[in-house]
Structures are given as C-alpha cells and as structure tokens.
Amino acid sequence: MEKNIALELKNITKTFGSVVANKNISLQVRKGEILSILGENGSGKTTLMNMVSGIYFPDSGQIFADGKEIVIASPKDAFNHKIGMIHQHFKLVDVFSAAENIVLGLADEKKFDMPAYVEKIKEITEQYGFELDPHKKIYEMSVSEKQTVEIIKVLFRGADILILDEPTAVLTPQETVKLFKVLRNMRDAGKAIIIITHKLHEVLSLSDNVAVLRKGEYVGTVKTAETNESELTEMMVGKKVSLNIERSEPTNCEDRLIVENIKCVNRDGIKLLDNVSFEARSGEILGIAGIAGSGQRELLEAIAGLQHLDGGSVFYNNPETGEKENLRDKTPLEIRQMGVRLAFVPEDRLGMGLVGNMDIIDNMMLRSYKKGKSMFLQRKSPKTLAEKIIESLEVVTPSATTPVRRLSGGNVQKILVGREIASSPTVLMAAYPVRGLDINSSYTIYNLLNEQKQKGAAVIFVGEDLDVLIELCDRIMVIGSGRITGIVDGRNTTKEEIGILMTKSAEDKGDEQ
C-alpha cells in the first residue's frame, strides 16, 4: 500500500511577508486515488498546490514523488516529475486551435508534425472519454471545453499526478457531471488526482480521501466513506471565536430595499444570480455570507445600478416621500437623481472606489463635483470633508493632498467609508470592508457601520469571516452559487449552520439532474 504513494508533502511552510499561508502541512496522495483538498477562501489550498506545480517555492519542508525527494523550482520541474496543474484561470491562446495550444512549448526533439499530434490528442480523448475537437479555436469554445483543453495539455505531457484548482467553479451542473466521469476514468487508469474545492457535496461524491485546511493549517485527512457533511463542515470552519463586537438592538425597522427575484446570466450562460429575493431593513445590518464569487459582487452592483439584470426588480422605499421606486436598469446617476441616498463601498477599493493617483480632497470631489455651480472646481467643501474624515477616523496621512495610493490599506478604506457615509446614506453597502486591515482599523469600520445602523440606514455587509458576521449582523443571508440558501438570525445561529448553507445550493442543483 505505502509503495503506491504518488506524491507526499512533509511539513511544508510558506509565508508571504508576515502572513503565513501554509504552516507545517503534510499530506499524501496515492496512485489511483482522488484526494480533495477542502477549505474556505484563504485557507491556503491554492498556495499549497502552487508549490507542488512550481509557481511558488516552499520556505521549508520536503516534497516526495514516488518515494524520492524532489525539488520543484519551476513549472518545468513539475512537468518533469509528471505533475500537472490545471489552474482556475486558463492559460490558453485564443486564436490557436485546441491542438496548437496543447503542443505549445513542447520541446521534444522530434519533427513538428501536427497531424501526428492531433492523432495522439484523439487517442487521449478516447481513452478517458473527453469530448473535444482538436481543430476548434479556443475563442469559439465554452468554458468547459477550454478546461478540457487544459486537462489534455497536462495529460499530453505525460502527467501522472493531476491537480485541479476549483475545477467546477465555472461549470454548469451537467458539465460538472461529465468532468467527474472523466476524472473517475483517469483515477481508474492509475492517475493520482488532487482537486481543490470548497464544495462539500463534490467532495463526498467524487473523492476517496479528503484533506482539510483551515487558515493555512492542516486539520486532518479523512476517508470520504467514513465521514459526513457536518463533520467536514466543522473541520473546515472550526470552533467559534469570540470577538466582542458591539451590537445594538435594531430600531425603527422598515423595509428599505426590496429585491425581488433578480436574475443575472453571464455570457457563457452561467447564472450569477438566480432568483434572488430579500429585504434590507432600516436600522439593521444585513450580513451576506458565502464563498467568494458566489454572486455577492453582482448582487451589490445590481443594486448600485452597475450590473445589467436579466429579470426581477429592485424596489426602494423612499422614507421621505413614502414612494416605492424601482431601481432596476437605472444608472448610478439616475438613482441619485431620484433622491436615493445609496452608498457603496466596493470590494476593489483603488479600482472602483477611489482614484489612487489623486489626493484625498480630489477623491472626495468624485462624489460631489456635480454640485458645483461655476465652471471652476470648488475645493472648499471637499477640503473640509477630507479634513473632517482624517481627524475623526484617525487616518494616518502626511496631509489631505497626499495621493491616496501612498496610504496603507486601512487608511484607504477609512477614507472610502468616510466619504460614503458623509452623504448620510439610507442604504450603505460594504463589500469586504475589513479585508487586509489590521485589528484596530477593522474595529473602527465595525463602529462606523454600527453608527450608520443606529442612524437608521439599511446596512448591507458582505463578509468572509463568519465570526465577524455572527457578532456584527442582525440577520445573515447566505448566498451559494447565485442563490439565497438561507437567511438566519445573527443572534442565535452557529458557524456550522452557516457553513452548511454556504455549500448547499450547488448540491440542490446537482440533485436536479
């Protein structure tokens, strides 16, 4: 049995600056076995596998292949040890055919003989049951076909150990079923397969063993046959940690934002938002939990007027006029002109939120320049606002005229949040507002959100840390693969409950097949 070990990692550690991405991780995968690596976002799954595929180099620890210790310093080394990784973002040349992409970079001595390569590709597709036309151009392909090209590319180079990073994240349920069939065929042919995932039902239906990582640490490996969802969830999310975030009782609650059955489909026909309905109430913080990329971004952008919707409506209950207005398919400017005071703290601070090369005052003006009456800029009131934010939020900056990009992440976020709440919003949406922030800055942001809640704003908070969500939010809505899988009360829910909801929706979809 032990002789069958295809790949073994021993005490692998990797740090990026002061962040420990992987800490003393050891695991094994055997030939003819599918191993799932399970963990939340940021648990270090991809980092670990990038070290095996030669993109990063471990700080310490050993890697063994076929019982011998190996050094993997580049993707080429990984190939030489028959390790191939299929990344989440495909690396393919659009105008090339599938076959051209597959043979790209191949440095064998033989003559460049395209027909022979095509024959070999066809052999591989038949052997494992892929569906692929080697002459089809990449730009004409669906995401799933592109993934097939990536897998064959790796097999073509003779890989015996395949690593797939979130292979089903971009696939429709039908395509997922096909992929799993192919993966099982490869396993039966004696390949060792590692899939990185956070979807519990996939783990249970596909893999032989599951290794769980949590916050960069190795939790353990269990046999799939001997485990169940709740055990895996607990391993994945861990025990609750107390943070002591203040939470006041919601007051004067009324429905401020009513989202009804909104739908959003991307170009590949994948449903990013699928019949999403909920209400955000004034004087309350609504948390949104979910695996990254489950539709949180699209949801917030749909409300802010930045995302085209394929169905449904977004109603705003105006507290001043008492009227109910539909915000769907309105531009942000139109929304503002309707008298809706909507504040949006986007995920991408220096991309969508602020302009890095402009100073703090000018960034304040991005929100207010339309108020100017003359043709010249009026810097006085934005300057006052900038100084007020710097003082009240304790922004560390040389002056109000410092370009925003020179400030640290926490200070940038304070400026962005400060600007957004300065308009005394009735709806405040914040996506991952504490990502990358130190503890003190994080608490400042929590306090600001609480303050807005007490002032009667409807606050929507998208977060990734379940402990924070549970302590900060009044209600927590869980989104999974573009669907709302549940809305729970923040005061009496558990991490396990949310964890199971987070991974639930895709499972339901799978059952529909």
Binding site: P75, K91, V93, V95, F96, E100, V103, L104, L106, F112
Partner: protein, 328 residues
C-alpha cells in the same frame, strides 16, 4: 508600357515588402516597432557607407570585385539595422519602456543618423550635387537574372530585377512558412498573443522577443539598402527615402499580418505609388491624391477587418503591451 508599369510597381514595392515582412515578424512577438522607418534609413546609410569606403579604396572602379561589392554593403546594412533593433529591444523588452515612444524616437534618430552620415559623405566627395553616386556597386546590385532579356515579356516581368527583389519575396514566403508551419512560429505567435501563456508553457519569452525584433529589423534594413543600391541607382541623397517606412507599417495592417499577402500588397502599393507618373498631363495636386491612396486603402482594410471582427484578422492580442513576469 504595361510591362514598364509592372516593373516599376515591383521595384517600388520591394522596399515596402522587406519593411513590412520585418515589421510583421516583430509584431508577431507583441512589439509594435514604429522605429521601422528609422531602421530602414540606417540600413540604407550603413550599406552606403560600407560601399563608399570600399569603392574609394580602389584605384580603378573597373577592378571592383563583384562579390565584395555586394557583400560589404550587405553586412554593413545588416549590422546597422540589427544594432537599431537591439536598442529597441533593450528599451522595450528589458526596460519595458513604452513601445510607441521608443519606436518614434528611433525613427527620428535613424533619419537623423542617415542624413548626418549622408551629409558627411557628400562633403567628402566635394561634388556640386548634394548626393553620392555609387554607380559601380549599383550596377552589380541591379544585375538581372540570366535570360531576362531573351524571354520577351516573361523575362521582363519576372526575371529583370536585381537579386534583392527575389530575396524579398523568398524571405516573405519563408516567414509565412515559419510562422504557420513550424514549432518556432507557433511559439513566436504564442508570445505575441499571450506572453503569460507562453511563459507558463516553458517558452523563453524574452529570447523570442529579442530574436524576432532583431531579425525583423535586419530584414527591414535590407529594404533601405535595396532602395539606394537598386531603385535609386546607387544615389544617396538626404531624405530621398521619403515615407516608405510608414508605408511599410501601413502594409502590415493591409496584409492583416500575413507576409504572403504582403507580397501582393507591396506590388499594389507600388502600383499606386508609380501610377501618377504614367498619367499624361496630371496636375501636381492630383499626384498628391494618388500618393494618399495606399493609406486610404489601409484605413478601408482596417475598417473592414474591424467590422468583420474575425479573430484571426486582428493584431496579435498582446501587441504593444509590456510583459511583466511577476504579474502572473
């Protein structure tokens, strides 16, 4: 007269063909080299300088060695243009400077170099006319293929040119073959389309960029050499090369990045260039309108290819973008 027009069109088109083939190879690696006009100038003046020194070292022009008379300017021209290519590569590949700015600077620089050394040589000969004539060398460059004068119109149209015309066509066909049928070509195209993909596949992106740019510059430089030695009968005069460098770049777009199409395109451009001379009683302003035609045709091609939006007819996807490996 038709035969003469065809001959003139081919001769007029040859520098454009060499320039555009060189530029296509460079652009396929993702580098928009707007220095091509300057590089062609340098290719021309280096060849002229080499040839000038060789001719003047001889006591009697009749005693010229035909091999050396071709070999010396050829090598000088190649060295000059490759050096220009290296400057461009160092700036844009290694230092990742802006390609457009670097290219335009090289064009200004190359034209300056050409006119400076051209002017110096003209001073050396102390003639009344502001040009140098290398007629002996030019005669050798212009030697047509054998039997050209014995096969009637066939010989006139196909065999009557100096060897560089055939070199230009062979280089274009060869480039086309390498780009589309060989592993090297596949790798080169991958570098221009998506350097990060090529890098991940183990292709040395920097090496391909340097090689294709330098080889492309060398080919383009030959276009300059051909112009002086063959087309202009060995007469160098400052700014004589005109806007042919820009026409070469327009030809790249016209031929939708295909060297084989460029062969026909160059003859068409050459035709449009010479046709006003053969129209009787043409006014100066009408002549200028004709000179404009190649650019108009290029714009029309751009409009058509953009409207049809066929992926194969678009420029290489990473054209003009610097590649940072760290960003993957």
């Amino acid at each position: 007269m038709i035969i003469t027009i065809i001959q003139r069109a081919v001769m007029q088109g040859t520098p454009l063909l060499l320039g555009s083939t060189g530029e296509i190879l460079t652009e396929k690696s993702g580098h928009l080299n707007l220095g091509i006009p300057g590089i062609m100038y340098v290719g021309a003046i280096s060849g002229v300088a080499g040839s000038f020194l060789y001719e003047n070292s001889l006591a009697n022009p009749a005693a010229i060695n035909p091999f050396l008379a071709v070999f010396i300017p050829l090598i000088c021209s190649l060295l000059g243009s490759v050096l220009m290519g290296l400057i461009y590569c160092f700036l844009t590949v290694t230092l990742r400077a802006n390609q457009n700015v670097t290219g335009l600077a090289l064009t200004t620089f190359g034209i300056g170099i050409g006119n400076f050394f051209g002017g110096s040589l003209i001073k050396l000969v102390n003639l009344d006319v502001p040009s140098i004539a290398l007629s002996t060398t030019s005669t050798i460059f212009k030697t047509p293929l054998p039997f050209a004068d014995k096969l009637g119109w066939f010989g006139d149209i196909f065999l009557s040119y100096g060897f560089l015309v055939y070199v230009a066509i062979i280089v274009a066909i060869l480039s086309s073959f390498i780009l589309n049928k060989t592993r090297t070509g596949l790798h080169l195209r991958a570098v221009g389309e998506s350097p990060e993909t090529a890098d991940a596949a183990g292709i040395n992106v920097t090496k391909y960029k340097y090689l294709s740019t330098c080889i492309g510059s060398a080919i383009a430089g030959l276009g300059g050499l051909y112009y002086v030695m063959d087309y202009a009968n060995g007469v160098w005069s400052n700014n004589g090369f005109g806007d042919r460098g820009w026409l070469s770049i327009a030809l790249v777009i016209f031929s939708v990045w295909r060297p084989s199409v460029s062969i026909l395109g160059s003859i068409l451009f050459g035709f449009l260039y010479v046709i006003p001379t053969y129209i009787p009683n043409i006014s100066v302003s009408a002549k200028k309108l004709f000179e404009m035609l190649p650019y108009v045709v290029t714009i029309i091609v751009l409009i058509i290819t953009s409207m049809r939006n066929k992926k194969e007819n678009q420029p290489p996807a990473a054209l003009g973008l610097p590649y940072f490996r760290e960003e993957r």
